[in-house]
Amino acid sequence: MHETSIAESVLGLVEQAARQSGFARVTRLTLDIGCLAGIEVESLRFALDALAPGTLLEGAQWQLCEHAAQAWCMQCAAPVPIHTRLDDCPQCGGHQLQPVSGTELRVRELLVADAPAPPAAHTH
């Protein structure tokens, strides 16, 4: 369940951004997650939900974008798309594959508000 630590690292980046840019809260958080990043997206969603209350992330929506990976096929000597580390080469069927992308885990963008969330009485 390292997604809890990941969620804390995300909050750290958000707090740093708030110190630099100044905002009261995040309304939408966009993460880029490579499919080889070792992240279970639903676990991360759960961890963010659990972490958010009382922080700048309270009430934010999570936009968790999973991206495919590329590997270098040693037999084909060419880059090929893969989705897991166990995939075979879609061209030659071999499994001498070296992933070259897909391990990224980045905070891409924040949608932020300068005002705190309205009190519950104002929401419908």
Partner: protein, 301 residues
């Protein structure tokens, strides 16, 4: 009444708001920005909202804007890991991050490794950082071999991170170089993601586990440079297909180096310890021969 925020302004501030955009700042404004754009602080410390881009703040309607961050979530850990790596390199410390599931025999193998290293090279400094959620049992076992060890209890944490290693390393007597073993929390999932600054991750898998573990936990076996297949003395008693296990490991990591060992009866320990010392030859810069080495150490990479 404050014409921006609509407060009653009983401190008589009127328009004395720290402005954003259209509103001018009085030269000697007795209030200061609260640190967040569009959030203003009056002389009495009250916070005012409504100085954002739209210049207004309406309950229920928030002013939003997008900020592009494009930052690696693990960037903070990776920066500390890189600092560790530079420190290890400058001090000629060769460091390994030992990872496995609980019960693979990591600590027993480490104790046997330390004893062999001591016998072969009594002058080489050795040290261990032990990661576990609780107890100092493992560090106690290491210290019983005469090698200094620091226990890191991660509490609820499922892995060591670079900062923990930096702090623990500062308490170990490794001036002048040596070999540092970092025994991670027993877990084949989470430690794969955290770079500690080590020269190589060494995954330990025992023959009492399944030969399909490299396929079940591919991230770890992809991140490791070495796989030690431990407890091979038990092979006659378990149904474990060594060749298939190695093929599975190579499937997720074509370049992984595999050695078969038994910590309890000593099988393969000469090869493993020879590999470690060869890698240390490179890190410490001492002259050595490459004759008789089955595989290159991490320093060759």
């Amino acid at each position: 009444m404050c014409t921006i925020c609509g407060c009653n302004g009983d401190d008589g501030h009127g328009l004395r708001l720290y402005p954003a955009g259209a509103h001018a700042v009085p030269a000697a404004a007795p209030w200061a920005p609260a640190g967040a754009a569009g959030v203003l602080r009056h002389a009495g410390g009250d916070l005012h909202y409504g100085a954002g881009p739209a210049g207004v703040s309406v309950p229920g309607l928030s002013q939003t804007r997008a900020i592009r961050i494009e930052q690696d979530v693990l960037g903070a850990n990776n920066r500390v890991a890189e600092r560790n790596r530079e420190h290890f390199s400058a001090e000629r410390i060769l460091s390994f991050n030992l990872v496995s599931s609980p019960g693979s025999g990591k600590t027993t193998l480490l104790c046997a490794t330390l004893q062999r290293l001591r016998e072969r090279e009594p002058a080489t400094k050795l040290a261990v950082i032990e990661g576990d959620q609780q107890t100092s049992h493992d560090a106690d076992r290491i210290r019983a071999t005469g090698v200094p060890a620091i226990q890191v209890n991660t509490g609820k944490g499922c892995h060591l991170d670079a900062e923990m290693v930096a702090r623990a390393n500062a308490g170990l007597p490794m001036a002048g170089g040596g070999i540092l073993f970092i025994e991670n929390v027993g877990n084949l999932v989470c430690p794969a993601m955290w770079d500690l600054g080590e020269a190589a991750k060494v995954a330990i898998l025992s023959v009492t586990e399944g030969e399909d573990k490299p396929l079940k936990y591919p991230d770890m076996f992809a991140a490791a440079q070495v796989m030690l297949l431990n407890k091979v003395d038990l092979l006659p008693y378990v149904s474990f297909d060594v060749e298939r296990c190695i093929a599975n490991a190579r499937r997720v990591n074509p370049r992984i180096l595999v050695m078969q060992v038994s910590a309890t009866v000593g099988t393969g320990l000469d090869e493993w310890v020879g590999w470690l010392l060869h890698a240390y030859d490179h890190v410490s810069g001492r002259p050595h021969s490459h004759a008789g080495h089955a595989a290159a150490g991490p320093a060759h990479r």
